[in-house]
Symmetry: D2
Subunit: 244 residues, 4 copies
Amino acid sequence: MNKKVKVTIWNEYRHEKTNVAVSDIYPEGIHGAIAQGLGEEFDIRIATLDDPEHGLTKARLDDTDVLLWWGHTAHQEVADEIVDRVVSRILQGMGVIFLHSAHHSKLFKKLMGTSCDLKWREVGEKERLWVIAPGHPIVAGIGDYFELEKEEMYGEFFDVPEPDQVVLLSWFEGGEVFRSGCCYTRGQGKIFYFRPGHEVYPTYHNKDVQRIIRNAAHWCAPVDRPPTGFGNAEPLEVLAANKN
Amino acid sequence: MNKKVKVTIWNEYRHEKTNVAVSDIYPEGIHGAIAQGLGEEFDIRIATLDDPEHGLTKARLDDTDVLLWWGHTAHQEVADEIVDRVVSRILQGMGVIFLHSAHHSKLFKKLMGTSCDLKWREVGEKERLWVIAPGHPIVAGIGDYFELEKEEMYGEFFDVPEPDQVVLLSWFEGGEVFRSGCCYTRGQGKIFYFRPGHEVYPTYHNKDVQRIIRNAAHWCAPVDRPPTGFGNAEPLEVLAANKN
Amino acid sequence: MNKKVKVTIWNEYRHEKTNVAVSDIYPEGIHGAIAQGLGEEFDIRIATLDDPEHGLTKARLDDTDVLLWWGHTAHQEVADEIVDRVVSRILQGMGVIFLHSAHHSKLFKKLMGTSCDLKWREVGEKERLWVIAPGHPIVAGIGDYFELEKEEMYGEFFDVPEPDQVVLLSWFEGGEVFRSGCCYTRGQGKIFYFRPGHEVYPTYHNKDVQRIIRNAAHWCAPVDRPPTGFGNAEPLEVLAANKN
Amino acid sequence: MNKKVKVTIWNEYRHEKTNVAVSDIYPEGIHGAIAQGLGEEFDIRIATLDDPEHGLTKARLDDTDVLLWWGHTAHQEVADEIVDRVVSRILQGMGVIFLHSAHHSKLFKKLMGTSCDLKWREVGEKERLWVIAPGHPIVAGIGDYFELEKEEMYGEFFDVPEPDQVVLLSWFEGGEVFRSGCCYTRGQGKIFYFRPGHEVYPTYHNKDVQRIIRNAAHWCAPVDRPPTGFGNAEPLEVLAANKN
């Protein structure tokens, strides 16, 4: 209980280098703002697309409790081999938080098994996120709703498997709704998809967004259990065929 | 995070006073064994049927994070008024763990809205409980399965609403299966139903059973949030009818 | 397959008698408009609050496959005994569709076990209902969304148990969202809650609303199975204790 | 409603050609027994691994409502391109029933996103399947349980995503349990995993097994709706930024 949760923030880290509208908001990278929002209660490391093995070596993953994933423009540059490695670690128990446009990352799509398509619009409209699971630890400290003055719109139908639980629903000024906080489990790994976070808006400086990411990082942390057994198994009872 | 979770163990506490087979196993009451299994990490109080207001005064409930409920022979003696009071507190966020025959308590039935009927047999047969949600915090520290040499059988169909999540399935020697660890949320309150615990077997002395109850008490603890708003609400946006 | 589903439409039938704004829209009662929308493919009967036993005799319920429920101003006049009778029939397999303000009926609250509270506002604002389960039979024939120009607003948090499936989400002009199509099962009975239908708007004349109610009435119809067994059960296998 | 559901039964069709123990039970192939069990109420076609494009041409898939899949020994011989084609068709609405060892097919694993591993044992022990969702159309006509005298054992933990609904739980003579009837939706396509069906036992001649497959084929059939819209979307409301 007392050990800090080990979080690896993975950021594509491309927009910040080429678009001044992004680097003005996130001078230390999107990962920098997310790290600041997580704060002292976590043991934080950074990994980016252009690091060797995208910063996701086996050693790094084995020493990660929860992975955060932000990507948008370069999903196709992520190596399939690394995706497979991360999936394998998730099934063993590592948690993962997918942020915003990570809905179209190779990793998310592989875990979901669907197209993960949706409607979208980028005009900087108002988003209001409503809590629909007020007993869930991911919304600790959050009121009935919170607002983001300008965000990209994502609209239903969101082509993902039925979540184990939806904790947040978004209302958009332009007329759409969206399941913006979705909980899943795959293998022993817990997954949270959290919608907001378009790169040209200061979303990751928002206190409610930061609180939800902190809460989700705790919720996603692995449970300490012996590895699950698979494969050929001896009977635990005497079978009728062997009783004589 | 550092404050102890406040647990109130409610026990009908009748079998122990009249049946030596029970008091031999639970000389300090079923609640005593459960309290011992919970241990130092919780702030524990006891309430029983024969206490004034069944030990469940408003003050006591307001100061309880998680209620445990064991009852069997005297469900009808629990006052409707107290049941309503406890339901109200659960909807506000108090967690509750229903143990074994609490499936037929007024409180559980009221929260479920169904008959909560099942098949049963009391011959002291073997039960083996299998983990089917290995990433869930309620099964931390539990292997693929654990066994109870002698238990009462509960068999499907268990007439309860579809659980939000089933974490344990039981195999019974006599040929039945059962959803033995069921998670629900009602209002802001989290609910766990945990099947084993017939009074004439030493189930609450079992280390795996104790571990699951400890895990569940943490999982059920309330989330710190402002109370949810209900009722007549002013619009958050300017309506078309008012735009001129 | 060829037999018509037997539908009983239960309507409180009070507003239509006292409020000309309602009777102008529903000259044959709200039940009349619903019946017209269901059409020839169902075997339809009407029951109202002021009928003897509210029109819900045991014989009538036993001969009903799917019950529709519209009520608003007189929930407290529904006799507890009749509520218990209906619950019992639902657990045995009768389907039920709760319409709009039926969320606060005794029957719905008893089945849910929660307060069923929500936020509301009655100013006649725009509602847009989005399909989030496009493979579900209840949304057959419905596009990505449909609109109601004027409706009462219901907003989250809606204090109901997590639905087995949510098929529709509402966007409201005033800034709220709502889970507007919720599927449940209680016992062998299937339940659908469908949000729209305030009495002073012509909602039940809307083609999409009518289509969803038709679809839901098919979906809710009972499954033909022998009654489930409950209670004391003989072992299906030879127990170790009896093997010598 | 009157048109027959178009079912394509896909069978690996290898064991029947090389193992007399299998061909004795299934002289017309496993697909032949399944087709016979489905009967006149469906429009049935057969496809096998050794057909050109495994019998799963685009034209065939476009003309299929529900695909059944039986495979075991040659999962790796199924071309990735065909798997992608089938996934795409499922997301558009085609239903699919995975039978027994199809849990390790490329197709099922791709849709699930997990390892789909489990425990197994092949000694011909007794399996008893319990209904835990008595209101679900897939168990129409089935009693509280049914038995298969000899089957292969599959045991938990079954590494699949949490099903939308579990309708059957298996008890095995050797001491294990299993979620044997699992419902999923992916995109607009409904998926049913049905556990029994090892090739050396006459499982597909069993009347209850046949009934469940028939029920599932109806349940999986596509819903008639316009295709879902995805991608860039114009606002449905006037945005504040454009109001002056």
